[in-house]
Amino acid sequence: MNTVIREDTVTKVEKILQDFIEESGATYALITDMGGNPLFTAGEEDFDVDTLAALSAANYATTKEIANLIKEDNFSLLFHRGNNENVHFAKITQDILMIVLFKPFLSLGLLRLKINSLQQKIVSIIGN
C-alpha cells in the first residue's frame, strides 16, 4: 500500500514539530516511516536526511528484534548520547518513528515528556 500525504497534513505536522523545537530547544526533529522514508521534518540539518531516516528505521527495527529475542515487548528508551549531540527515538504509531536531535545540556526527562504529548497531537492528525 502506497501512502499519499496531503499538503495540509504536512503543514500541520511540521508546525507542531517546529513549535516543539522552539519550546524544547531541540536541534532537529524527523518523522519517518519504518521503511526509512522521511515524512516530516523541522529544524536545521547539515546531514543527509534520507540516510538518517534509513539508519534510524533500521536501528529501531533491530532494537525491537533484540527485545523480541529476549522476550521483552520493547525497550522503553532508545537514546544515544554524544559529545555534541544526543539522539532520541520514539515510536509514534506502529508504522511511524520520531527522531529528535538535541544538545547534551538539555534534560532528557523533560524532552521525553514533551515528546509524549507531541505523540498524541501527531496521531490526531495522521491517524493510527
Partner: protein, 212 residues
C-alpha cells in the same frame, strides 16, 4: 511502500537488491554510486555500508538518488542491498520493510544454483513476514557474473537459470557483470522505471491518504 508528499511534491521509492551471499549485490550498488559520482552536475549522497570488518554485508548498503521530475514531482529512489549470508536472516528481513521494487541478483556459477533457489524461496517467505507477496512489488532478475571465463569456472546457461527461477513469473531479466558494469545501469534503469510507473498507477487508482 512508496510515499507521495503532495506539499513538497516528492515521490520516494525503495528498491532492494536481494540474492544469495557473494552474488554481487554490493558490487552492483557500488558501480551505480561510482558512475553517479562521476557526473559533476549531480550532487550524490554518500554510500552507507554496514558491513563486517571483511567485505561482507552485515545489514545493508544504502544511498538515495534523485531521478529528476515526473508530472511535477521530484522522484527520489532509495537503493538498498540485503546481506546474502544465511545467518543474517533477521537483518535481511528488516531491509525488506516497505519495499517497492526488487532486483534479484542471481549467481551464474553452476555451483551456486541451489543457493539462488534457496535465497529466492527465502525472499518469498520474508515478504510474507511483511504481509506482501511477489505480486505486490516489481521484480526483475539479474544473472550476474556472465563475464567469467567458462573454461576456468563452469557457469549455468541463462536458459537453465530462467527455467529454475523465472519460468512461472516470466519477468524481465538481464545477463550482467557487476564488476565490469555490463547491464548494471540497464538493470537499475529498468527497475526504477517500472516501479515508478506502478507506484503512480497505484496512487492514482488507490489513494491511501495520510491525515484525517
Amino acid at each position: 511502500m512508496a510515499i507521495v508528499n503532495l506539499k513538497d511534491k516528492t515521490i520516494q521509492i525503495k528498491i532492494v537488491y536481494y540474492g544469495p551471499g557473494r552474488s554481487g549485490k554490493t558490487t552492483n550498488i557500488e558501480f551505480i554510486h561510482n558512475k553517479l559520482q562521476q557526473n559533476k552536475n549531480q550532487q550524490i549522497s554518500n554510500l552507507v555500508s554496514i558491513d563486517t570488518k571483511g567485505d561482507r554485508t552485515l545489514f545493508f548498503d544504502f544511498f538515495p538518488v534523485s531521478l529528476g521530475k515526473i508530472n511535477g514531482f521530484d522522484l527520489k529512489l532509495k537503493l538498498y542491498t540485503t546481506p546474502g549470508q544465511v545467518k543474517y536472516e533477521a537483518t535481511r528481513r528488516l531491509v525488506l520493510k516497505g519495499v517497492d521494487g526488487l532486483v534479484f541478483v542471481a549467481d551464474s556459477l553452476t555451483s551456486r544454483q541451489d543457493a539462488n533457489l534457496e535465497s529466492f524461496e527465502n525472499l518469498k517467505s520474508n515478504l510474507l513476514y511483511h504481509k506482501q507477496s511477489l505480486s505486490d512489488v516489481k521484480l526483475i532478475f539479474q544473472w550476474n557474473k556472465r563475464d567469467i571465463d567458462e573454461k576456468m569456472i563452469p557457469l549455468s546457461p541463462i536458459e537453465e537459470m530462467e527455467r529454475l527461477l523465472n519460468s512461472e513469473l516470466k519477468v524481465q531479466s538481464f545477463p550482467a557483470s557487476a564488476t565490469s558494469g555490463m547491464n548494471v545501469l540497464k538493470t537499475v534503469n529498468y527497475i526504477s522505471k517500472e516501479t515508478v510507473k506502478s507506484v503512480i498507477e497505484k496512487t492514482i487508482l488507490n489513494k491511501h491518504k495520510m491525515g484525517n
